[in-house]
């Protein structure tokens, strides 16, 4: 009994320290940002009903800059030349109907700079993507078209590549802004790997263009899930300005499901042991409980006639 009271005191002070230095201190250090569940309440709903057929015709205008691989539309330029022309490589549009919020996409097509909340970075230069829809109707038509070509299932990796991959490297998954790191071989005689050197040169060129465009090299996201809290990531992607006022990262406009896909990929790469932990954990704990039970029997046996 007395031992239990002492244990209670130890546990009490331990928890006090824990709560003080972890949840409490973190709540003081990091400002709390209210998320909106990817509903984008600042954007007005678009009433117009879109027609995919009209949208399809309008989408021809996108192909000057974007690829739509699922429809057999190739990219007009390679990523490095595109970054030279626009700052970054315009993303492939096959999946936007599945990943982006409808309302966001419609507004983005009408007024990209303000919808992405990057106007402060484009005061004295033009945003590389001009407004593509003059009114609600054509915006809705385009959205309807992209929704009609959207696949049912999007893989987490594809979601990442579309939404973040043009800006953020992910070296633990061998992803660069210009695509996956190719498998190359070095020349056995010279020890040099020319293909790799060439790839790195292209990548460096791309990054150079991107830094000129964004003002900063976006960080590698390989283990961002361990470096930032889930709450931070969610509210940051929903609206980067809410966490880092003045940042050059655009609001990407993912839907809730789209973000969940992206996050699943960030977690898969950044915390690969999660499934294993969930499998091994219970076994180890069960083992320890059995061990504790046997230890208790031994202890009782040794101490039975001491008092």
């Amino acid at each position: 009994m007395k031992d239990l009271k002492k244990l209670g005191i130890v546990v009490f002070f331990t928890l006090l320290v824990y709560i003080g230095v972890e949840p409490y201190a973190h709540s003081v250090m990091h400002k709390h940002v209210e998320g909106h569940n990817f509903k984008y309440p600042d954007l007005k709903p678009i009433a117009a009903k879109g027609n995919p057929e009209t949208g399809k015709a309008l989408a021809a205008a996108c192909m000057g800059c974007h690829s739509i691989k699922s429809q057999g539309v190739p990219a007009p330029m390679d990523p490095v030349s595109a970054s030279g022309a626009y700052g970054v490589n315009p993303p492939d549009l096959s999946l936007i109907g599945a990943l982006l919020d409808e309302k966001y996409l419609a507004h983005f097509l009408k007024d990209p700079v303000h919808t992405a909340i990057v106007a402060h970075k484009f005061k004295d230069r033009a945003y590389p993507m001009p407004p593509m829809a003059t009114d609600d109707q054509s915006a809705a038509d385009l959205v309807a078209y992209f929704k009609s070509i959207a696949p049912k299932e999007v893989k987490p990796k594809e979601a990442y590549e579309f939404a973040c991959g043009r800006c953020h490297e992910m070296r633990y998954a061998k992803w660069t802004q210009i695509g996956e790191v190719p498998k190359t071989k070095k020349n056995i005689q010279t020890g040099a790997d020319l293909a790799k050197l060439k790839f790195n040169e292209k990548l460096a060129e791309y990054k150079g263009n991107m830094v000129k465009y964004l003002g900063k090299l976006p960080p590698d996201l390989s283990i961002i899930v361990r470096a930032r809290s889930e709450e931070f990531l969610e509210t940051f992607v929903e609206d980067p300005q809410s966490q880092l006022p003045g940042t050059g990262m655009p609001r990407v406009g993912l839907s809730k499901e789209g973000y969940e896909k992206v996050f699943a990929y960030l977690e898969e790469v950044g915390d690969p042991s999660k499934p294993k932990r969930e499998k091994v954990g219970p076994i180890v704990l069960l083992y320890m409980v059995v061990f504790a039970f046997l230890a208790y029997l031994w202890y009782k046996h040794q101490w039975k006639d001491l008092h």
Partner: protein, 410 residues
Amino acid sequence: MAHFDPNARPFSHKWMNERLAVDTLQKVLSTEYWIPKNINFLWAMGMILAATFGILLISGIFLLMYYIPDTKQAFDSVNYTVMSEVGYGWLWRHMHGVAASVVFLIIYIHMFTGIYYGSYKKGREMIWLSGMLLFVTFSAEAFSGYMLPWGQMSYWAGMVITNLFSLGSLDFQGLVEWIRGDYVPGQAFLNRFFMLHVLLMPLIIMALIVLHFGTLRIPHVNNQDGEEIDFDAEAQKWKAGLRKESKVIPFNPVFLSKDVFVMSIYFIIYFYLVFYHFEFAMDPVNFDPANPLKTPPHIYPEWYFLWSYEILRPFPKDPGLVAFGFAQVIFFLLPFLDRSPNVAPASRRKPFRCWFWILLVDMIVLTIMGKVPPVGVYTTIGTVAAWVFILLWVTLPIVTKLEKPVRRSK
């Protein structure tokens, strides 16, 4: 002259005994190492510490097989190679990280147990002093280990802590550079701390653990009433079969059985943390690679250094350093600042009882204030707590002098 039986089978009991005195060794170290019966689970903390050090050593050896002490590769060698390429590398890493954090919790419990029961005086001074040396070396071990992943917090904590060696207004920039081996933390710095962490500090710690155990041998461990026990007489009773009457028990197997039971409960909690709640031991900021161009918005040490960090922080530069130095050494002096002859639990030592609980609460307040940003009311609380800490130690000789001799119950 030693006698060696030529007919003894090699490695038989007799053969070993003639050469290594295994029987005597076993008696001295375990079956006739006497422990008072009247002790509670808090006396198992020492063995828990030894076991946790074992975990740190073994998991550390596994990590060492893949870690690369190079400023360009260190980060990826732990965060990628160990975490995703090496089979169960994540398990070793999480075990190492969680053990490094909880070992300090147990050290603090162990220390405060010693303070509460007065286990640092009347023949137990050397136990206390060797224990404090372990505390200091563990701190150095933890700090050097924290540098190794070369993340943002490694770099900036390394910067801030080594800066302390400029000794305030004395401005010994040369000393700081000598320690770093460069103007700023870099390759030389990382190599040094790597060496300290994997070689020198563990060696010293192992030697100190042996010393700490050695210092326990003659005074024996204390007990819940601070009673002075005649260990020889009580041991005779035990050997005569008076298990109930004797006040002592042999370490092995009787006390050990309790140690192992307490330890098993500890390991349940430990492995729970390893699998389901390791974040507290691995700061998120350190999962951003070191970036000399970007100072993190909040720089703070690991939780177990926060109380002494907070004693440094609220004061101006020079007095702050003096206060910090004071905090680092003052626990060493405990056996000499306590002027009371009583060896008894604090609950029976009137003014000292208050002193004990104020110290404990004050250090927790310092710990929490050490982490939150030093603004507004937090600065005030931190400053007051730092002063309370200093005053507590200054008044300790008086508080203990005022104490009346404790009459033993029974």
